[in-house]
Symmetry: none
Subunit: 194 residues, 4 copies
């Protein structure tokens, strides 16, 4: 969060709203400027180009998103509890912010590859949090030690992401946060009976 740059945050927040309302391709710079209450040219005093607005949106919003999760999980003891907390926080934050959910799950994915790569870098700290929990779980002898850790992380992240995307595409008609325990159960114990 850039401090003492009120227009910077004005533009970021306007961008989230405009993209959520008009879709990625319907979000012209002039529309964002209008929503933010600044002139088109002013945008370019704070952002290099349009792509930079979008990267910054993701950076700012995901930054907060990840911080919240990192902070919350650090307060739990076992890796299993940490994972449940991560799932709950992941769902809770997106469920609480309708526009952000649409932008991250649907709209920003329509961007070009360059932007997608930048988005991936921004996501890196989140994947690191997951990796940390996995490592801890193994050390605590709670999680399996015979498995490719990268694969474990891909299963966790892939499952959460797919679950949220389905929920958004179903117009958020059911309770996402309520699914957290079941998702945790499935991820930890698998789909097979024991």
């Amino acid at each position: 969060m850039k401090k003492n740059k009120p227009k910077y945050n004005l533009i970021i927040d306007a961008a989230v709203d405009v993209i959520a309302e008009n879709g990625y391709h319907g979000s012209q710079v002039s529309k964002i400027a209008k929503k933010a209450g600044v002139a088109d040219g002013t945008i370019y005093l704070y952002f290099k180009n349009k792509e930079d607005i979008l990267v910054s949106v993701f950076e700012e919003k995901m930054g907060q998103f990840i911080e919240q999760i990192a902070s919350a999980t650090s307060q739990r003891e076992t890796a299993s509890d940490k994972l449940l907390t991560l799932i709950q926080m992941h769902f809770r934050q997106l469920a609480a912010n309708h526009h952000l959910a649409i932008v991250t799950q649907l709209e920003l994915r329509q961007s070009n590859l360059t932007l997608r790569h930048q988005i991936n870098s921004i996501l890196k700290p989140y994947l690191d949090v997951i990796d940390g929990i996995i490592k801890e779980g193994i050390e605590q002898k709670i999680f399996r030690n015979d498995m490719n850790k990268q694969l474990m992380r891909q299963m966790i992240f892939g499952t959460l992401d797919e679950t949220v995307t389905n929920w958004v595409m179903n117009e958020e008609k059911y309770d996402l946060v309520g699914l957290a325990p079941a998702v945790h159960d499935l991820l930890t114990k698998g789909i097979m009976v024991r």
Copy 2:
């Protein structure tokens, strides 16, 4: 697959190549026409518009993709074996077709929402195959009966999709098909020690 429409398939295949090589946004109709060896106008004898080419690409290719998987899984007895086969076939087909993997995992996701919804409909039969395996597994008392079946499917599909996307974004540097048993193991038994 439209039979006896040689130009139709010529254009579909050209589209896959052009999109894989130039990216979604760099794929002008004229480029596809040139690669297919037909005139620009000919495209419009077979497709309503540019979006229709992309939908058709996905339709044709995913149609074959799903058929292969449906056919292969039907030859296995237990739901667990079917799931392993599905994972293997999923990975094998995309690993075997570099261009198709890029197009489905990266390029086609840059499309607008209308197109994304159409893509989802095309994907529906694949999700049905997964749902069928889950149902069978429960009947065979192999898979858990206490879990939200939609969530189980989302975990399976989300994990496969994330795994393949990671592999493509890592420039396909490692053996994707070799990961199938581990992915199967994780999905069925979870990440926790028993």
Copy 3:
């Protein structure tokens, strides 16, 4: 009228209908071909190009139109009666043929200058008929001898044309033929009281 060329007339008549129904710019060659029940390519066995179809439409239809008028006026004695007959026939024929009225008064005027010049040549015999009546009227000492004859013809034709165009643009809501005597009266005696 080309004899023994059934497809020729089929195409001409189809063209009138298609233009009346779809407007000048909505009348593609393929639409005319379809309406005529022939293949697109067949059109080019009878007409040099699209413009040639339109010229021929006007030629055929106006040919009949003018013949009717020339024949009817020749049966009247005085130039004044001939003029009344001409006006009546002009109005009657267009009132009787809705599609033809739309095509000649509105649609064909949207054509380019080349076509407009050709249309003018086709109209020449009609102007000749008017000129003949004027000349006869002067010889009969019924019409004024002190006036520019070309101007007299322009007044007559301009008035008829404007009257019909207004009637077509008003969706032919009133009785056009019934106006003939009044138009004749105005043209011969002018708008001023005597």
Copy 4:
């Protein structure tokens, strides 16, 4: 005339020239922009689309045209004098502006029906001027009271329009303004000897 919008008028005037020189169908937006000395995109800051340029051209130019005529006729006493003045002004203005004459008599008529209807609305005030003169003439007992007034107006406008169109199509080879008295004489007294 939009005041203080220099680019607006620059584009309007460029459009008249370009259309007169290249014809209606040969007048690309880019050609008009180039002639006006602005970028293509600038056109769209002042006009909704290409058709809007054409409507505006007619609006501006006919607005001035009609104002001149309305002002000049109002300074004459009798309806007959007013009519003569109207004819003179009509001819004089078009004779004085070669490009405008071509555009109004030939090029703008090639437009589609939507545009033609808009052109008709713009022409309405001119027809109102004619109607006013007719009404006045009847009140002054100069013009006939036994005639359909709409028909009288159609004769006047149709005659002027046909006369000017003939003159333009004959490459303006003779003196149009000099014809005014004869046209006035024909319109008021008709073609018949008394």
